[in-house]
């Protein structure tokens, strides 16, 4: 537990006991803070216990940074209180919107990457970093739609966001794979062009085919092991950037803890080899 975080796992209530007891080198856990924005009670006590033994990352899903409105002040207050209590080694969010005109839609919604949107998102990221007293890592989304009106490529947009706000970036390799398949670009080109310096964390997850559209539409479903093609992109990425904390995300069709731990071990070994070689 005193080692630097290498590969981590999403923390699931069902695996609490095993997660608490596990002593794998470099292991860390990631949670969605929205599940812990409570005043007290067993949930918070549980996360506090995990934190006493493992590094924890808070991966937000509902700050709605790409909405044309400031982030919810109540959520920021609660996130700050949680972060001060848990002392996460990483806090991240998404390049997406969900809350709009006072109503929350539980998804990561897309938008046209315009200069207007960039200015707004920069303001929202800066306000959030100030409120939380921490640097945020912003994640690239999965794409399903062909959107008219983009003025910026996604990588340039993220790099400029990082330059203007000092935020870091979180690269979800599975999202790149899914988006590349759905929109028709080469995921390797994207991976090769992603900026090294602001990259703080990497996500890996499984995806699936849309039940209605099959191969024409891949869904970032987090319900399967990481695909071999995604592992290959991960190797390609970290060979260039050097090791970065890498998370295995799994939300549905949850296997036993040991199965996830094996998958996580593969990422850990790869990162450790790179660190040795450096």
């Amino acid at each position: 537990m005193n080692q630097k975080p290498t590969a981590g796992l999403g923390l699931k209530p069902r695996h609490f006991e095993q997660a608490l007891e596990c002593r794998a080198a470099g292991l860390w856990f990631e949670v969605h803070p929205e599940n812990y924005v409570v005043d007290g009670g067993p949930r918070l006590a549980w996360l506090t216990q995990i934190r006493e033994r493992h590094p924890v990352s808070l991966h937000g899903v509902s700050l709605s940074l790409a909405a044309d409105a400031p982030p919810d002040a109540g959520l920021l207050r609660r996130l700050r209180a949680l972060a001060d209590r848990i002392e996460p080694f990483m806090v991240s969010e998404h390049l997406a919107w969900s809350t709009w005109r006072g109503a929350y839609r539980p998804d990561l919604l897309p938008f046209p990457r315009t200069s207007e949107a960039l200015a707004r998102i920069c303001a929202n990221v800066s306000a959030s970093q100030d409120a939380l007293g921490r640097r945020l890592a912003i994640e690239n989304p999965s794409h399903y739609l062909r959107i008219d009106g983009h003025e910026w490529g996604e990588i340039d947009f993220l790099a400029e966001l990082a330059r203007r706000t000092g935020c870091g970036l979180l690269l979800d390799v599975n999202n790149v794979f899914v988006s590349a398949a759905n929109l028709g670009f080469d995921p390797r080109t994207y991976i090769d062009a992603f900026p090294c310096a602001p990259l703080m964390e990497i996500h890996l997850a499984g995806h699936s085919r849309d039940p209605a559209m099959g191969d024409k539409l891949l869904i970032d479903s987090h319900d399967a092991p990481v695909a071999e093609s995604v592992w290959a992109l991960h190797s390609r990425l970290v060979a260039r950037t050097g090791p970065r904390p890498t998370l295995i995300e799994r939300d549905d069709h949850l296997p036993e803890f040991d199965v996830l731990l094996d998958e996580r071990e593969r990422a850990h070994d790869a990162l450790r080899e790179l660190a040795k070689a450096a």
Partner: protein
């Protein structure tokens, strides 16, 4: 198109048929992949309601529940950017909706599921120990008992809501006949986990009086009003044991 105009149109299109979408996002709503967002938003909300109202779900079955939830989501998206406590107004929605299908008591069962969520997420505080009541009778009568921040109670006139709720919340296989009379419930969190117990009407009135900041004597009078034969000592011990209180304030402390 401004970002705000785009978001207005997109947000609206999530709940419309593709052909009814605002022209500004028609090219998006027309793509089959738009359904991914439409479905994720709806499923996320319905799943959250199902998680927050498990007794109601078991009682009516998943299919009935998810259709009711779908209608609720359409009328009332989460107002807070998290789902943990989504559904504050779901019991009220159910009282209209379920009356229409002949289950007028369903909303009250939903109210208990809601109280469970409130207890689960309430602030931590130490529960009062029985020893705190070791005062001379005159001081105790003038003292005030503060309900624990994680204690919730309710009295249901004329219907065994607690038993219906408990059997479904605990997934109890007991399907024996339930006597049709009023019941109360107390939900607390004395040692971390949420727990529940049946409460008689006098005890509910006692707790109501404490919640209003009245003295122990006034709370006892409130209990005696509904049940002149109530064993007040046993009533108070049982409430303390369940973790219903966090503090006893004696008159000297009040003036100090």
């Amino acid at each position: 198109m401004s970002l705000a105009a785009y978001q207005d149109a997109f947000a609206q299109a999530l709940f419309l048929d593709p052909e009814d979408a605002d022209p500004r996002v028609a090219h998006l709503a027309a793509q089959p992949a738009f359904a991914v967002y439409r479905n994720t938003v709806m499923k996320g909300c319905i799943d959250a309601l199902e998680a927050n109202f498990p007794a109601v779900t078991r009682l009516v079955g998943e299919e009935w529940f998810r259709e009711a939830a779908r209608r609720y989501v359409t009328s009332q998206l989460p107002r807070e950017p998290w789902l943990l406590t989504y559904g504050a107004t779901f019991p009220a929605f159910l009282s209209e909706y379920s009356s229409a299908v002949g289950m007028p008591w369903l909303a009250e069962v939903a109210r208990l599921d809601r109280l469970w969520t409130c207890v689960h997420t309430a602030p931590d505080d130490a529960a009062l120990h029985a020893g705190a009541l070791a005062l001379d009778p005159a001081s105790l009568a003038r003292a005030r008992l503060s309900p624990h921040p994680a204690a919730r109670w309710a009295w249901f006139d004329g219907a065994p809501i607690y038993t219906i709720w408990r059997r479904n919340r605990e997934q109890d296989a007991d399907a024996s006949q339930i006597d049709w009379h009023g019941e109360g419930a107390l939900i607390t969190r004395p040692t971390g986990a949420v727990q529940w117990t049946e409460l008689e009407e006098s005890a509910c009135h006692f707790l109501n009086a404490c919640g209003l900041g009245l003295t122990v004597l006034q709370a006892m009078e409130a209990a005696l009003e509904v049940d002149p034969d109530v064993d007040l000592r046993a009533l108070v011990s049982r409430l303390i044991e369940a973790g219903a209180f966090s503090a006893l304030t004696t008159p000297t402390e009040v003036t100090a």
